[in-house]
């Protein structure tokens, strides 16, 4: 507790100083700038990109993002809970529910270091098994003589013909993967999950090898977004699904003003108090403002070749689910 107060005392001057800074520094608050941002996101030409509101070279962005996530890895999950007040769990649950994976699905979760999506996926598969069982009972009970059945009969039916579901977690950052592996061990999960260190722009997987590609709160931090989307298209099998959960643009002006106030004034301070790191969380909120809006990002997904692209806003557009299919 005392440490927290000391932290607070340390950051108070910073809080005061930063009071109106974000609004001056933030061009994305003005909609007119939106299209120019998207073009800077989608074009691979030129070596400038942005790191939060700073303009940096592409190599530097990759390095800085790596630095940020190495810094926050240990506190990442706790901070997600604190900053989103737990809502990110609902978003992720809904995300998996919307995907409704079927038995035998091969999932690639990119930028999923701490395993949030991977664990939910595996839990869903387990839950789905039990759901299936309960569906079968009524039809069995229709013939009374067939119920209860002998154990040998049940064994015959037990599903062996289905392939096992599998999830591959790919992250560019080793520290994030380590956190995820530790959490998997705590849950006793050792099967059906792989951990791979790799770049979303150059995935270390064969073409046409995955059923689903998910990326949750990760694509924003990729240096060349369009290249990552092209890679997603490459590794997916025909009929495979691309799903992305990412912060997006809030359209409602009332929610937007409250949201901006919260992100620029509260989140970096929370980062300082709870994780002892102001700059990483300053980057977090800035990078959200720099990310293209729902429509622009959907257009980029279509550019990569995906069909049936849909967008769904969550909590008024604070986050959005983009979905597309490789047909």
């Amino acid at each position: 507790m005392a440490a927290s107060w000391r932290n607070l005392a340390r950051i108070l001057p910073q809080l005061v100083r930063s009071k109106f800074v974000p609004y001056r520094k933030c061009p994305s608050l003005d909609l007119r700038f939106a299209s120019s941002q998207a073009s800077s996101f989608s074009s691979d030409e030129g070596d400038k990109t942005h790191f939060g509101f700073e303009d940096v070279s592409k190599e530097e962005k990759t390095r800085k993002v790596h630095e940020v996530f190495t810094n926050v890895a240990d506190k990442y999950d706790m901070m997600n809970d604190a900053m989103s007040m737990g809502i990110h769990r609902i978003w992720k649950d809904y995300f998996i529910q919307k995907l409704s994976p079927t038995q035998g699905t091969k999932l690639l979760d990119v930028a999923g270091g701490t395993g949030d999506i991977a664990f939910r996926f595996l839990d869903y598969m387990k839950y789905q098994d039990s759901l299936q069982l309960s569906w079968n009972i009524p039809s069995r009970m229709k013939s009374p003589e067939g119920w209860p059945r002998s154990p040998s009969e049940i064994e015959e039916e037990s599903p062996t013909e289905e392939e096992d579901s599998h999830v591959t977690v790919c992250d560019i950052n080793r520290s994030m993967l380590e956190v995820g592996q530790k959490r998997a061990a705590q849950r006793g999960l050792f099967e059906g999950i792989d951990w791979v260190e790799g770049n979303a722009e150059e995935l270390p997987f064969e073409s046409d090898s995955m059923d689903v590609y998910t990326i949750a709160f990760g694509i924003r931090n990729v240096t060349r977004v369009q290249k990552a989307l092209d890679e997603a298209y490459r590794v997916l099998k025909p009929g495979g699904r691309f799903m992305c959960l990412e912060f997006s643009e809030v359209q409602n002006p009332v929610i937007k003003s409250a949201y901006d106030l919260y992100s620029f004034q509260v989140i970096p301070a929370l980062g300082q108090i709870l994780a002892g790191d102001w700059n990483s969380y300053q980057y977090l909120v800035e990078s959200i403002r720099k990310f293209p809006s729902q429509e622009e990002f959907a257009y980029m997904i279509e550019e990569a070749g995906f069909a049936c692209v849909t967008v769904e806003n969550l909590t008024g557009g604070i986050a959005a689910i983009h979905s597309g299919f490789k047909l």
């Binding site: 409704s100 079927t102 038995q103 025909p238 009929g239 699904r241 049936c308 979905s323």
Partner: protein, 235 residues
């Protein structure tokens, strides 16, 4: 597993592809019901991963609508050919009961392979996401049947006929899902009786028409307005 080669993939449009997946999903309805699982199995059968069921955001609802649309167009095709064979001696503005019965029976027979899960499909039609398309499909079915049975009315009976035929069809649907008789004989008898009622009702309506003319309706309307106190012109 049906594998589609490169060449085919280029020529198949998005809509055709969806239709193909749903068509192969229909084979799995008797085992999995009108559900995402059936669509996923269908997609797998087509050579796609199971998660391709996400192409159909309404899940079982999309599958059910696809089936209904397919049945409707099949019926309409059939009625067209039948009609051209017996280019008709129908009296103008009067529907032949035989045609109605044949059409409705044929349509109901299309449900038989899926009868065990048809109650589930009927509950799906009550979901807000499905309800609009459900009534649109139902309207198309009834409209086709009426047209091919020789209904050329342009007056108010256009509406009453379609509404009462809709009631006939829906009640038969409810009957057939509980029918355990041989070859659903009871349902066809039920249908026959309902159509008798339907034509009698049409007869009564014609009788009423002879007594009731437009002035009668407008005077009823005015009385109603006076009773409700909304007839004040000075407002």
């Amino acid at each position: 597993m049906v594998n589609h080669n490169q060449h085919e993939e280029e020529t198949v449009t998005e809509d055709e592809l969806k239709r193909n997946i749903l068509n192969s999903a229909l084979h799995f309805v008797p085992t999995h019901g009108w559900s995402i699982t059936a669509i996923a199995e269908g997609a797998k059968h087509y050579g796609y991963p199971g998660v391709a069921h996400g192409l159909f955001p309404r899940g079982g609802g999309d599958l059910m609508h696809h089936f209904v649309r397919q049945c409707n167009s099949e019926l309409s095709q059939h009625l067209k050919t039948v009609q051209s064979h017996t280019e008709t001696s129908h009296e103008k503005d009067r529907m032949s009961k035989a045609t109605l019965k044949d059409a409705l029976e044929m349509r109901l027979r299309m449900l038989i392979p899926y009868l065990e899960h048809w109650p589930q499909a009927m509950t799906l039609t009550a979901l807000p996401a499905n309800i609009q398309e459900h009534f649109r499909n139902l309207y198309r079915l009834i409209d086709d049947v009426c047209f091919h049975a020789g209904d050329r009315s342009v007056d108010f009976s256009w509406y009453t006929r379609r509404l009462s035929l809709l009631a006939v069809y829906k009640s038969c649907e409810l009957h057939i899902i509980q029918d355990e008789s041989h070859d659903f004989q009871e349902t066809w008898e039920f249908l026959d009786r309902r159509l008798d009622d339907f034509t009698t009702a049409g007869q009564i309506k014609e009788d009423i028409d002879r007594f009731v003319n437009p002035e009668f309706f407008s005077s009823v309307y005015n009385v109603g307005r006076n009773l409700l106190g909304v007839n004040d012109q000075r407002r």
